[in-house]
């Protein structure tokens, strides 16, 4: 295996993506991602000197509209989907780790 990505890099990328993996998952994922990135590298065979990037294939450009509120006033229905809510607000755990001394 070419080792294009190692276990530490996989862990670093997982951190960026707000994901965590067990050791067993890392064992499985690391060689798999390495193989897929190897497949990505076949793109180096394509000559792209002077080629523009394509980020969008829409035929619409710079569409403007008035800034008018639409489809609002549904906070009760929206809050029904929140994992935890009280008095019109979404509840989340304390931001500061309670296990730490302050």
């Amino acid at each position: 295996m070419a080792n294009r990505i190692n276990r530490e890099q996989v862990q670093h990328v997982a951190g960026l993506a707000k994901l965590e993996f067990t050791d067993a998952e890392l064992d499985a994922f690391t060689p798999q991602l390495d193989d897929i990135i190897g497949m990505f590298e076949t793109l180096s065979e394509v000559d792209t000197d002077g080629v523009e990037v394509t980020s969008n294939v829409s035929d619409q450009l710079n569409v403007m509209r008035e800034d008018v509120a639409d489809n609002w006033g549904q906070s009760a229905a929206l809050l029904k989907n929140a994992p935890d809510a009280a008095r019109g607000f979404i509840k989340v755990p304390a931001i500061i780790d309670e296990s730490e001394d302050n």
């Binding site: 897929i36 829409s58 500061i96």
Partner: protein, 489 residues
């Protein structure tokens, strides 16, 4: 009630003539689904109470001759949000999610008084080609229940192919309408990028995603595309191009006379099964007999599409799926000490393996030090692939080829091997990268499983694809052959 013998026009005629009421049709649809779905597992959620109520209201009003879709059942892929009807994207992270609005394509069908029957299974967040990545169930192929239905719109495809509904909507980011349509012997279109509003489609790859209809015939497909297409203020990538009445022009079985068709040699190259190749070559002969010219052409960079797509699609997905953080809706992990834990544990427990793999690939491709080599390179190769298509479509009316290199594979056969699974999309992915319309329709059988043919057109020229598809259908009988679900047909 199954929909093997009836198209939208005949259902509409029966409803107008009151041979059947909308309520009876709806009830018969649910009865049939309850009898057949234990075998097929196409549906995640049934909308029975609301659908019957809606059908009652439609009957009370009466169905006029100028309401061609009123009272007709439709199934929706479960990544289209539906107001007050659970929408999961086949993910644990959205297991209990009830949207507060309808997707634009859904509300357009509702305004035409179609009756939403339920939500169909998919690969989680539409990531996969077999529907095996659903967090909830594995849908089976309508023709052989040991085979996958394809994916990611596998539930919609199997529901239409098994006669459960006459129409379903799917979504297609790299082949997710066309490949399951091919595997199940039905018709599916990935419209031109921008033809249909993506508002309310749970985003995967925003520069690639399109919603499209899946039906038993080309004409039905054309009818539904006209109903869901058009500009939408809520999706500023949706086009302001006029939407033709696509079905109105479908009455000439010889309309391909004089057209020039390109058959790329890469589409019949290594990796394409002999049975698939034979069906496509026979289809080329059918078109020649109808007076079209079929030329061998080349899309020299086609094989790089898969790599470019898995970089671009995964990068867009990694960004789009940041919104699933356990805060405002969806799954939140229990065992958390702080806010960072909410994010990391909710996402790690809520997403399935393939979704995590794509988020990782995308995050990697966009990360510092790798962005130029991967994301930017892929975005340039995308331009090269687009130029290949432009060159061929300059002097050809459309391109024909297979949808997938093989017929439906066995459940469990490929799910442990991501690269093999990714390569199945080698013939559909480039069409999404280029934003072109792609129509999949039945073109024969190989080992008793359907083979799909793909017609690829110029931007916003779905009309030519439908005309060519209709002509093929009128001169063949593949679309009339039916799966036997335990012999009850």
């Amino acid at each position: 009630m199954n929909y093997f013998k009836q198209d939208l026009a005949s259902l509409h005629a029966d409803l107008v003539a009151k041979k059947i009421s909308a309520k009876e049709l709806t009830q018969a649809t649910f009865d049939n689904i309850k009898a057949t779905d234990p075998k097929i597992d196409a549906f995640l959620t049934l909308n029975e109470d609301a659908a019957l109520k809606q059908a009652d209201a439609i009957d009370a009003q009466g169905i006029a001759a100028d309401q061609p879709l009123a009272g007709i059942p439709v199934a929706l892929k479960d990544n289209l949000v539906t107001k007050d009807l659970k929408t999961t994207a086949a993910s644990k992270i959205l297991e209990n999610f009830n949207p507060v609005y309808d997707a634009t394509a859904v509300s357009k069908l509702a305004n035409a008084q179609m009756v939403t029957i339920g939500k169909t299974n998919l690969d989680e967040f539409a990531m996969g080609g077999s529907t095996e990545n659903s967090a909830f169930k594995t849908t089976k192929n309508a023709w052989d229940q040991t085979k996958v239905p394809g994916g990611s719109s596998g539930g919609s495809a199997a529901a239409v192919a098994s006669g459960q509904v006459p129409v379903a909507l799917g979504s297609d980011t790299g082949g997710s309408i066309r490949q399951p349509a091919a595997f199940n012997g039905i018709v599916g279109i990935k419209p031109t990028y921008g033809r249909v509003s993506r508002w309310g489609l749970i985003a995967f790859g925003s520069s690639l995603d399109q919603i499209g209809p899946m039906t038993r015939s080309v004409k039905d497909n054309a009818t539904i595309l006209s109903a869901i297409a058009g500009h939408d203020d809520h999706d500023l990538t949706s086009s302001t191009q006029a939407v033709p009445d696509f079905a109105a022009d479908l009455n000439d079985a010889t309309s391909v006379k004089g057209l020039r068709i390109g058959l790329p040699k890469e589409f019949l190259a290594e990796g394409v099964d002999d049975g698939v190749k034979a069906a496509i070559l026979a289809a080329a002969d059918t078109y020649r007999k109808l007076g079209a010219t079929v030329d061998e052409v080349s899309l020299p960079h086609n094989k790089y599409g898969v790599a470019a797509y898995y970089i671009i699609g995964s990068s867009e997905a990694s960004s789009n799926l940041q919104r699933f953080d356990g805060i405002r809706y969806g799954y939140r992990a229990d065992d958390v000490k702080n806010l960072e834990d909410v994010y990391v544990k909710s996402r790690s427990e809520g997403f399935g393996e393939e979704v995590k793999r794509r988020i990782m690939l995308g995050t990697f491709s966009l990360s510092a030090g790798f962005y130029d080599a991967y994301f930017l390179k892929a975005a340039k190769v995308r331009t090269v692939i687009i130029n290949d298509f432009k060159a061929v479509l300059k002097d050809h009316d459309f391109i024909m080829g297979p949808v997938a290199p093989t017929t439906a594979f066995g459940i469990g056969d490929e799910i442990k091997d991501p690269i093999t699974m990714y390569m199945n999309d080698v013939l559909t992915i480039p069409v999404n990268l280029a934003g072109l319309p792609g129509l999949s329709l039945p073109a024969g059988f190989s080992n008793n499983l359907p083979v799909g043919m793909q017609l690829i057109g110029r931007p916003f020229d779905e009309s030519t694809l439908y005309k060519a598809g209709y002509a093929f259908e009128q001169n063949t009988d593949f679309h009339l052959q039916l799966p036997t679900l335990g012999g009850q047909n």
